[in-house]
Assembly symmetry: C2
Homo-oligomer: 287 residues x 2
């Protein structure tokens, strides 16, 4: 896992320090936001899935990095004053605090745009696969994916979301990009249609449970350990899994969703042990 993280981190920095890019304030802000290594969960999922489907890790590396770039853009824009208004991310000042709001908007726009360039440029992959990746990413990160979830979220403050809408928000805001990460691995590895479907279902269930656990941690873990402001959702009067489902039911649902997620993996005639191990670690570590 450490080798994979190193690979991803090095490649991301190579991609952003690309000499063809101007050395301006947008790039500086992008590098700042990428400098504190995150957990790289999404790109690791891409690499693990690609390996599971028999691909070379090199072939999946640029698509994996593109997913992390999109994830980073979404954090920068989510932290903006008009959105979640957060000052702290991964233990550091958020981009609009460290730089300014205009730079944060543009750095997010850049990372979003650049992620598509990275895929279109990826060596080792043919154009048919690249188009499939780009289509998948745009769909999962778009209005019926991540952006759609963010819209529900930003409208939800002070309201009492019905449970199905809460789960739909988690599905769009969080699970969609995890699903894209997994689908990326499957596409690079040449998975067939049925395999791709199982992977997508796994992504949806795992992603929703991941967000529920995140909500649980937000109220139970202190700020310094969390790397972002503790209880920030609560302060903004935002509905979360905890406020809507209650802590007990939220925990039960997360566990149930993980069992369901594993059942999709069990449909695959592949060695799914690495994916399962990662999911188990995440589940245990975070409770």
């Amino acid at each position: 896992m450490q080798t994979k993280k190193k690979l991803i981190s090095n490649r991301i920095h190579e991609l952003i320090q690309n000499t063809e890019l101007p050395q301006n304030r947008v790039i500086e802000a992008a590098l700042y936001s990428l400098a504190t290594p995150g957990k790289y969960l999404r790109p690791i999922f891409t690499l693990l899935t690609a390996e599971m489907f028999g691909a070379n890790i090199e072939d999946a590396l640029d698509p994996a990095c593109a997913i992390e770039l999109i994830h980073t853009y979404s954090l920068i824009h989510d932290d903006l004053p008009a959105m979640d208004d957060d000052d702290l991310r991964r233990g550091k000042e958020t981009v609009h605090i460290k730089f300014d709001e205009a730079t944060a908007i543009l750095a997010g726009d850049f990372l979003l745009t650049y992620s598509f360039e990275v895929i279109a440029n990826a060596s080792h992959l043919d154009s048919v696969k690249k188009c499939k990746l780009i289509h998948t990413l745009a769909k999962r990160a778009g209005a019926k994916g991540m952006i759609g979830g963010q819209m529900i979220d930003s409208q939800a403050a002070g309201s009492n979301l019905p449970e199905p809408l809460l789960l739909s928000m988690h599905e769009l805001k969080t699970a969609a990009l995890f699903t894209a990460a997994l689908e990326f691995g499957a596409i690079v590895g040449g998975a067939n249609k049925n395999e791709l479907q199982q992977i997508s279902k796994f992504g949806k269930d795992f992603g929703i449970s991941f967000q529920i656990i995140d909500d649980l941690l937000d109220v139970s873990v202190p700020t310094e350990q969390l790397g972002k402001s503790h209880g920030s959702d609560e302060k903004k009067n935002k509905p979360t899994s905890v406020t809507i489902l209650g802590e007990k039911r939220a925990r039960e649902m997360a566990t149930l969703l993980n069992i369901q997620a594993f059942s999709h993996l069990n449909q695959l005639d592949r060695d799914t042990s690495q994916l399962k191990d990662l999911v188990k670690t995440l589940l245990n570590r975070r409770f």
Copy 2:
């Protein structure tokens, strides 16, 4: 020209009203910003260039619409309070005024993301061409293109930009997307490498002159005719072609750049009359 505008307008609305997209606030805001038809200059350039290189107009339509989607996203984000802080666009309230800031950020993010989906989905085009289009768009709209120009612009208020930096800002902020629009037509039409180069050079010179003329109009045309706030750059103490070059030199430079732009078209063994007519109309109409 009217037929082309109608084609573009209809297709854009079809694309956004795509039943696969959720009918949420992001889509509502995107439709609002697209409802007042703009001049569709960029997509028209794509269609004219595609025709010039012998392509069917249908093959170029989705790429042309993708360019307009990107252009619209850039206007929504540019108008935000943290950027240009404009209340008026195309004679209507800007998106963050009509909706709110969070919705405007997300609607821009959506249009940017969706433009890549539209290209990846385009029928009539093979994957090799689609990848070329996506690569071109991401590059021209990115940190060494439009976003880079926007960064210079947002840092420039109150400063006295040296002339080369002013021209570089125009090149990135304005000419880059015109260039992409023209390159799109050339790619769809299967232009060769040399032809593509001449088209890119034409886009750069035309685009810079277009921005100079825009700056001239900003100080000379009243708000109601302009559709955006008259003299808004001046009010924000932003350096423009007029403040840096002076009105006389700005006019001369625009004319000179147009002559230079035409010289690139003259290198092509194609019927460039439609492109030239459009550029002439723009030049004359706007002075």
